[in-house]
Amino acid sequence: MAAPLTLLLIVAVTIRAVLFRSSLAELIPERVEVVSPLNAWKRVVEGLALLDLGVSPYAGDVFHETPLIIYFFHFVIDYAEIVFMVMTRLVGCVFLLQFRKQKYALEAERYPLDCLELIRTPKEMYYIPLKVAMFYLLNPFTILSCVAKSTCGLNNAVIALFILCTVKGSSLMSAIFLALATYQSIYPLTLFAPALLYLLQRLYIPVNWQRSSFWLFTTQYTFMYLGSLCVMVCLSFFLLSSWDFLSSVYGFILSVPDLTPNIGLFWYFFAEMFEHFRLFFICVFQINVFFYTIPLSIKLKEHPIFLIFMQIAIISIFKSYPTVGDIALYMAFLPAWNHLYRFLRNIFLVSVVLLACSALFPVLWHLWIYAGSANSNFYYAITLLFNVAQILLVSDYFYAYLRREHHLTHGLYLKRKDGSEATLVLK
């Protein structure tokens, strides 16, 4: 495993280094699909420059990063490219490590015999971590995001570390990294539920409302999480001795004042909306991100890792300023579910639409902004299509997962009572 991993890392670093030195390095940080007002490198530099001039970086609408990022980049700003490359490599390694721990052993003997083909063999599973790392490191989206030096890479690293700690079972570290991820952008809050479920499963505590051990652990974890979040927020206060980072970071994420086009769904709606209804629709859109947590947690309470995948996908589709870096994070998980391949129904459609939309984004941007022969409707249409394809991908995997579970409990070749072949209908 070490040799292929090293090779992979070398290839990934080479690609990024080549792109950093080429002329694309000026072009890519300007693309709106790759950077957003929240994580653009240009804004980080602006914020630090403002700080050197003695002005708070949160004055004005330039800088929307958290104070810990200020602290971090204050020292490494000259080595930014290296930092970002290291970050992505870290994520790759982290993914690798965590997927080694996949508990395929638990699925061994409880199933009907004809389901043997559904169970993954250890031989297949051996290569999954490498494939996951490869999917992340060589994904064009990740490469673009890294070359653009968007701090999305940092956010991804924190989430990956969080998943690693959760999988390893260390609830303190998991809570701390989750708090860090939430502190960076609010949306990883929804990952609290799957993390809790996984840790409970690992400690063999059944999710039963009457059990005291369940409540004990839950309160422990909640306190650790909330405590670390409070500590981080207070620490950030001491960096600049002011609370204005709260409205600049969290107020900005939640109230979406900046309507620069991106690959998300917010900008067009809010550009067209009357002021009167703005608050209502902001609430609706933001609740939409958090809303799927509870139903999904109820359905997937035995499969928390898949739940994590679903939540990350939902966050990156419905968040207020998504970029391709967020998409790369959940796409990296896809090799972990390659045993679901036989149940996926929309592979061709989804992959073609995603490819086509990725190609059309720069084209329609150019037509809209530079040539003037298209308008924002064209670009938003592609955005919509891109997000629909992502939603289709996620729901397809969900269906495949549930179907596999169903087959595992009821047998692969379903028969009706009279012995004829039954068909499975999704209701």
């Binding site: 700080l51 050197d52 001039l53 602290y71 204050h74 303190l172 001491f238």
Partner: protein, 353 residues
């Protein structure tokens, strides 16, 4: 010989009278601020109004450098214009008022109430170019023409003529209190100012009535004409305009019968070459003053001096001045260490202590 001498004396008297008249109004330069405030294609006529007045004013001598033209929308290059790069003020497209020498100073979204007031009061940011400024002085006569939909002078001026072609235009001049100001409006309070002619090919109305008749009147004015303001007040009576044009002259010092149209619509650039010596002992109220040396030129020189190029090129990169507070660093690293030791057990502590 004697008749010649009499003729000579008579001529010189006429010269003197004319010279007196030349200097009687007391202004030495003319400015015009022409504003069209309405946007969108169906307000074509307002832009046509303003451009027609612009054309007349230029024809009568005011140069582009002394005209501030503010148009809120671009009709000539509008996608709906069947004849691009033209703006017609007469149907059957007799007169293209756009031409090829129109100089628009404020366009599109720059035409706001705030900018209009800033132009008039001179309170513009220092980076504003000269073409966007009203650089009038105490001896300027200013013509302000406003049209469009529904809007205390502090700029330096000698006399001001305000023409307003909007609905209820009189409401605007009723509020004026600055001295030496004359105002004309196309309609009274409660009346609407109406448009004149629709053109079927372009599809919109081309002109407003008041401005149409105003321009018909102005077409007969040439730089040396002696028509006065009373004639201007008679333009567009109710029978032609449907709305009642009004005017206000109580704030104006001179009698309106003595004010020439060209005092406002034209530019004082008349040069009469004479070989006669004119005796200027008659009392003159205003002597011809030299144009004051424009202060702006000296300003710009000192600005350039402030930034020598060599200094800019060889600026060293700034040293980083900001450092995070010590308490923060301490707190952060203590926490990190605590978490580290909690996770990996206290046995590592023995390596330190």
């Amino acid at each position: 010989m004697v008749p010649n001498l009499t003729n000579y004396l008579f001529l010189s008297e006429i010269m003197q009278a004319k010279a007196g008249q030349f200097f009687s109004s007391g202004h030495t330069n003319n400015w015009a601020v022409l504003v069209c405030t309405s946007r969108f294609w169906f307000n074509y006529r307002h832009v046509a109004n303003t451009l027609s007045v612009y054309r007349s004013v230029k024809r009568l001598g005011i140069p582009d450098s002394h005209i501030v033209l503010m148009l809120a929308d671009d009709m000539a290059c509008n996608h709906r214009n069947p004849k691009p790069a033209t703006v017609f003020s007469h149907k059957n497209m007799e007169l293209n008022v756009y031409g090829d020498d129109v100089e628009v100073d404020y366009r599109g979204y720059e035409v706001t109430v705030e900018n209009f007031l800033r132009v008039l009061t001179g309170r513009l940011p220092p980076s504003t170019p000269r073409s966007k400024r009203l650089l009038s002085d105490d001896h300027s006569n200013i013509l302000i023409y406003l049209t469009g939909t529904h809007t205390q002078m502090e700029c330096g001026y000698n006399e001001l003529l305000f023409i307003i072609d909007t609905c209820q235009g009189a409401s605007m001049y009723e509020r004026f209190y600055s001295p030496n100001l004359m105002a004309l409006a196309s309609s009274q309070v409660g009346e609407d100012s109406l448009s004149h002619q629709p053109d079927l090919a372009i599809g919109v109305h081309l002109m407003d009535r008041y401005t149409f008749y105003l321009l018909e009147f102005l077409e007969d004015i040439h730089p040396a004409s002696t028509a006065n303001m009373n004639d201007l007040f008679k333009v567009c009576p109710k029978s032609q305009c449907v709305s009642t044009p009004g005017h206000r002259t109580d704030l104006f010092l001179r009698d309106s019968g003595n004010v020439l149209i060209t005092d406002f619509f034209g530019s004082v650039r008349k040069v009469e070459i004479t070989m006669e010596t004119i005796n200027l002992t008659a009392p003159m109220v205003h002597l011809a003053v030299e144009r004051p040396v424009s202060e702006l030129k000296t300003e710009s020189q000192s600005y350039v001096d402030q930034l020598p190029v060599a200094e800019i090129i060889h600026q060293k990169p700034k040293q980083r001045d900001w450092h995070p507070p010590d308490g923060f660093i301490l707190g952060l690293w203590t926490l990190i260490l605590l978490v580290f030791f909690k996770t990996y057990g206290a046995k590592h502590l023995k390596h330190i202590f």
